[in-house]
């Protein structure tokens, strides 16, 4: 350094300060001169020229100022080029709360952190026992392997504003799958949604609740669809009514048998069908003896068909008398009302259509059909595969109804993002934590970042929907901000999910 100074006496080498200058610099001002109002047009007036000169002088004195620090205030460190990190040689300062990391019993700083601290006058980095000037810091620390100049510009800008900025490490993020399994935050959100949905539902009928639940389920599925790799089936099932109708139609398809489960006293048939070995119980042929009825006069049951019994098992005639003592043979006394209901039941049993139903589902369907016919739900619209979107007999709030009949569902940023291929052109660079958290910030447990930064330039392309989806998916529920660098200027942009508000109140 100094030898060049000597060999080149004609070139003024003013940027290395003499000891007296260094000493004098201890008491220099830390104020920045205020910039006055700008003029609109150069007028060549002396006054204007003077002002320009003054501004330029202030400018150059600010720019040319060199950093001078007390040795005791400087943390010493060395640059390790092979690992592209900076190792601290003396105890770290206050910055250690938010920067640096420990490994192998030593304290290290990442290159961008070291460079920022150098610029702040907190750190002196040595390489080969010589202190590195800031210029060397820029040229050595900022490479494509570590962090580029543009990334550093963003880093420095945010640091100067007081934010805590850490490199984003995609591997330390929970994978989509683990996020799916253990979702403290987003699960909570879904749960809250569910709760809110429920509480707003006014005096729900049972079918209404069912519909509600299935829609909230679906919403939950949608909000986690990002993590949904394991579910190839899209959860866009039609309305629950439709699926109900579907099961009904399939069961009515094999109605051709026309069997009923009201028994006939035909034992022979029963043994026949039992020996056929069908796995289903044919209740039409299974006879249960009515021991209590007064019409039952025989005192014993006939012995069962030996062909139904295993091997050499012999079962004799069953005497009913002890059994009859054990059961209550008193006749049930019925009120007239009960009597009437009983009669109704009786009537239902006499109903031919009802008698043709083989199970409860069919019976309920029949009842629904009958009710529908009464309430203007024409059967021909409802008993096919394609049914109206909404059943007018179901009470539903307007908002719900609008949602139901909307043909194009609104999408969100994360929808389908998990199925996209990764891209190398865009990556998240930094986790950013807000300045007000600095006081109790822990590097080991930084908590949820305030936002994540992706650095790009005005010269490059605008991120497309694919990129935005990918980054949003990678970032989870933390917003991704695009820091766009235009030479010295940095602007921040973010793309947000937006749901069109519906001005409908139920």
């Amino acid at each position: 350094m100094a030898d060049q100074k000597k060999t080149d006496p004609d070139v003024k080498f003013c940027e290395i300060l003499s000891p007296s200058e260094l000493f004098a610099a201890r008491s220099r001002s830390h104020k920045i001169p205020v910039r006055g109002q700008k003029d609109f047009f150069p007028s060549d007036s002396d006054e204007q020229r003077q002002r320009l000169e003054q501004s330029l002088n202030e400018h150059w004195s600010l720019i040319s100022e060199e950093r001078v620090e007390r040795l005791g205030n400087l943390v010493k460190a060395t640059w390790i080029p092979s690992e592209e990190i900076v190792e601290l040689q003396s105890p770290a300062g206050k910055f250690w709360q938010t920067m640096g990391f420990s490994a192998r019993g030593k304290q290290y700083l990442l290159p961008e952190e070291a460079l920022y601290l150098m610029e702040c006058g907190n750190l002196q980095v040595f390489y080969k026992d010589l202190p590195l000037p800031i210029q060397d810091g820029y040229e050595r620390f900022l490479t494509s392997n570590t962090i580029g100049l543009q990334q550093y510009q963003v880093f420095g800008h945010l640091k100067r504003l007081g934010y805590v900025v850490h490199r984003f490490d995609p591997s330390s993020e929970p994978s989509p799958y683990s996020r799916q399994l253990n979702l403290p935050q987003s699960r909570d959100r879904a749960g809250r949604q569910l709760k809110r949905k429920r509480s707003t539902s006014p005096s729900p009928s049972s079918s209404y609740i069912k519909a509600k639940e299935s829609t909230t389920d679906r919403m939950e599925e949608e909000s986690h669809e990002g993590e949904d790799r394991k579910h190839p089936e899209p959860h866009l099932t039609a309305s629950p009514e439709a699926s109900e109708v579907q099961t009904a139609t399939t069961s009515s398809a094999d109605e051709d048998g026309g069997r009923t489960w009201w028994m006939t006293d035909d034992l022979g048939e029963s043994s026949q069908s039992l020996t056929s070995g069908s796995s289903c119980w044919d209740f039409s042929s299974i006879h249960f003896p009515d021991l209590g009825s007064s019409e039952c006069h025989s005192s014993c049951l006939a012995c069962p068909d030996p062909s139904l019994l295993p091997g050499a098992l012999g079962v004799g005639v069953c005497d009913l008398a002890p059994w009859r003592q054990r059961i209550n043979l008193r006749k049930v006394k019925m009120s007239p009302k009960e009597h009437k209901r009983d009669e109704d039941n009786w009537n239902i049993n006499k109903d031919k259509e009802v008698r043709q139903c083989r199970n409860w589902a069919e019976y309920q369907q029949l009842m629904a059909r009958r009710q529908g016919r009464r309430k203007g739900r024409p059967a021909h619209l409802w008993n096919r595969e394609v049914t109206p979107l909404h059943d007018p007999t179901q009470p539903v709030p307007t908002g719900e109804l609008l949602d139901k009949i909307s043909v194009i569902k609104s999408s969100n940023l994360l929808e389908g993002a998990s199925r996209l291929e990764g891209s190398d052109d865009w990556r998240i660079c930094f986790n950013v934590y807000q300045p007000d958290t600095v006081a109790d910030f822990k590097k080991s447990n930084p908590g949820k970042p305030y936002s994540r930064m992706c650095v790009c330039s005005f010269e490059g392309p605008v991120p497309d929907l694919r990129v935005i989806k990918l980054l949003a998916f990678q970032s989870g529920d933390i917003p991704v901000v695009f820091a766009v660098v235009d030479h010295g200027d940095i602007s921040f942009y973010t793309f947000k999910d937006f749901q069109l508000p519906t001005d409908v109140y139920p």
Partner: protein, 308 residues
Amino acid sequence: QIWTRLPPKTKFSLKHSSDSSCENTRVTQEEDWSSSPVVGVGLCDSAPLLWRVQDLRTVRSRGLVGALLGSLARTPRQNGRLGRPLLLLPEEERLLSECHALTCRSPGELTSRSAGAELTQQVEQYEEEQQRSYEEQSVLALEDRKSALLRAMTSSHTDEALRGRLEAFDQDFTLPRSALAVQLSTARAGLTYCSEARAFLQANWPIRARNDRHSDVKYQVFRDLRGRGFYLTSAGKFGGDFLVYPGDPLRFHAHFIAICQSLDQPVCLLDVLTVARLGSNVKKTVLLCSPGTDGEVVYTSLQWSGMV
């Protein structure tokens, strides 16, 4: 309905840059450059950065503004005013390199310098210098203390007591090592200060290929506007290519937003309206700049105006 909200009249004024006075100023400036000192550029992540104050001054005196990137030494933790290094726009870099006014040194050359015996010598020298600085600063600090004492004790104490105190200072005072003021250099010392080496490297500035057409168009526009005495900065935040200042940006507001477009490139009317609207909102005039075939640049200014 939409059209009523559009400008009733958009005025286009065409102006050609064929007047000879402008040409002349450009030529004289180029002559100036050839005689001016060469600027030392450091490449950081392939971006051209200037470090030495002298180089920054040289470039500014040529009307090139650049962009400051670093923390300001005086108050580092703010973004209002930044300090060295200065980033050159690609157009500025190209303009300087075409005038052979750039030289560059990569950090790789530096490592070769710092090798073996020479390195140990340098380390020794550094330590020696620091020791010398310590001694000098100790003397200065002692003087400082003494004068402070003198100021404080003139009235209340006798001369003897004062003399005794001063002598005690002379004997006992040691500047703690930690109070030593040291410099954290901004620019690297080295070859950039050696004029012969500069001359040798002068022609060696790598013309970094920027083959795309748009950057060519931008460069021609930049060169022309600079030749006319305007100061230019990048205009990303205004949706254009350059902000055009009538004088030094320290003292003047930008008047124009320059948008560079080659002559044969069709322009969408909506884009024109967008930029014109933006320009009027920030009280600047939008300039559509297209280099012609004969090396001249055609400027079209857009202005909102109501129909009277």
